[in-house]
């Protein structure tokens, strides 16, 4: 094995072990920042020793033991410092032994639970969504601050500072670092799922293929979703979110044209959809439903994505089912965007009149007075109803409201097509 090979091996081992190692260390030293430093120290020790000694048979155990030794050294040093002016020379061993026993006990606990505890900690609701995302990518995903900064098109200093602040906030809060139970668990879990989905969407929203770091965020979010599903196999919304991400990611290769422009769902080449991810998404959805979570916001969004995934051709889309799912979604996740999509689904399922009736309700909402997509939808429904002159006016109105150059051009194009 060459030096580079060994180096690559050590990096791969570290990637596998890192999050679990940090999780164990957090339990032990009760400090996220210190745990991360100890893990990093152990990695550096491995980098300097393994090329000489060879990779140990159980590298995970080796890293854990090394980090643990270092933690115990620190504990002893702190005690010594604290007692510098007290009775120097007093036998400290008894108290030390108690501290070390606690460390040993903490290190031997169930690893899965610890990793889940670390995810819950990194996504704690006392942190802002931005901070949760950065800390999760750093601690669980193992991304460097530079990688996170590039993915979020911001500076490394900004991300580094965000992570430092987040660690401080967690430190001050005096958390237990345990997996929350009971009612608190659900609240904390939605905070975790929100952070994971934010990471996914940041990658998914990126339309340019030039920046490969951003699609990598989708992969990272999917991995986090899969880890969560492995660690919390009884939580329906974990599977709802996982299903939603797998199905959406199945379209990644099909949703950008050769010119770099996004291709709408109805016009994508469905043969380019990733069948393995669709299968995984559908089975995760089944699992969410089997756990009684069919009405969860993520499960419902996944069920909507699944309707499109099941249709090999646009014409095969089950719009009635989609309309029904939007009816259910607006009850658990009310928003104008959901209502607008619901109107579109009803138009496709039951005809333009059904869609127009739902739009009228939305148009009474003052907050949406300047929302370009409303007249755009009305124009589309009118066109389907055969009223092309009225449709033209609506597309023009939508174009006037739009603040996006590409969108405006698209809407004016539709208006023009009406006059024929």
């Amino acid at each position: 094995m060459t030096a580079t090979d060994t180096h690559r091996t050590i990096e791969a081992i570290f990637r596998i072990e890192r999050a679990r190692l940090i999780a164990r260390l957090v339990r032990m030293v009760r400090d996220v920042g210190l745990a991360e430093e100890l893990a990093q120290d152990a990695f550096l020790t491995a980098l300097s020793e393994w090329p000489r000694t060879g990779v140990p048979a159980n590298p995970g155990a080796w890293l854990t033991a090394t980090a643990k030794r270092r933690a115990i050294d620190l504990l002893r040093r702190d005690r010594m410092l604290a007692r510098k002016h007290a009775e120097i020379g007093r036998d400290l061993s008894e108290e030390d032994d108690a501290g070390i026993a606690a460390i040993e006990a903490a290190m031997d606990d169930d690893v899965g639970d610890e990793l889940l505890g670390l995810i819950f900690t990194a996504c704690h609701p006392i942190l802002s969504p931005d901070a949760r995302v950065a800390l999760t990518l750093r601690l669980i995903g193992g991304l460097t601050t530079d990688e996170i900064a590039r993915a979020y098109l911001t500076s490394e200093a900004t991300i580094a500072q965000r992570i430092v602040r987040a660690k401080k906030t967690l430190g001050k809060a005096g958390l237990s670092f345990e997996v929350p139970r009971g009612r608190e668990r659900q609240e904390r879990l939605s905070s975790v799922l929100e952070a994971v989905y934010l990471i996914f969407n940041e990658g998914y929203a990126a339309t340019s293929g030039a920046n490969l770091t951003r699609p990598a965020l989708c992969a990272e979010a999917q991995r986090l979703g899969r880890i969560l599903a492995g660690l919390a196999p009884d939580e329906p919304e974990v599977f709802g979110l996982l299903s939603l991400m797998e199905i959406q990611a199945s379209r990644l290769a099909a949703r950008i044209g050769p010119d770099g422009m996004p291709i709408p769902l109805t016009e994508q080449n469905r043969a380019r959809w990733d069948r393995l991810l669709i299968r995984r998404g559908l089975s995760a959805l089944e699992r969410a439903e089997a756990l009684g979570g069919a009405d969860g916001p993520y499960a419902l969004q996944a069920a909507l994505a699944a309707c499109h995934a099941r249709a090999n051709r646009v014409e095969a889309t089950d719009w009635r089912r989609i309309a029904g799912l939007y009816d259910a979604l607006r009850r658990v996740m009310p928003s104008p965007v959901v209502d607008l999509n619901r109107a579109v689904a009803h138009c496709m399922a039951f005809g333009p009149d059904a869609g127009l009736a739902l739009l009228e309700e939305l148009e009474r909402n003052d907050d949406l007075r300047n929302y370009a997509l409303l007249p755009a939808a009305r124009g589309d429904f009118l066109l389907r109803a055969g009223c092309s002159a009225e449709a033209k006016l609506q597309f023009e109105r939508a174009a006037a409201l739009s603040r996006n150059e590409q969108e405006r051009a698209f809407l004016l194009g539709r208006a023009k097509a009406c006059s024929v």
Binding site: I16, R223, G225, R226, A229, A253, R279
Partner: protein, 140 residues
Amino acid sequence: MRVMVFVKATEDSEAGVMPTTELFEAMGRFNEELIKAGVLLSGDGLKPSSQGKRVAFDGPSRTVIDGPFAETRELVAGYWVWEVKDIAEAVEWVKRCPNPMFGPSEIEIRPFYEMADFGDVVTPEIAEQFDRLREKTPAR
């Protein structure tokens, strides 16, 4: 990157010898680890080649050959599909796998091709035809 990980056959697996309870359990624990690490996408075991068939191609001729097939060590007894960062990570995971067979055995890691890898070999027309065929394949 996506890799397929092949468990290669042995005389035992070809003879249909079932693994011991201990091996089943150890393999279960390994799979559990893969799941908890978010690495495992799918996987399954395959029956011995005595239950398989081969079709040999030579120009226009097609000859069906019944199993079992002779070159045991080249046969596949099972597979996983994993999502890993690079092949070094896949190697590390394979090292952690319990020996899937009673005697000496091998596991092989092969990265998936992605469309980008084909370069000029696949013309847009061929890609289009390939896409049309896949369109007819149901999701499940």
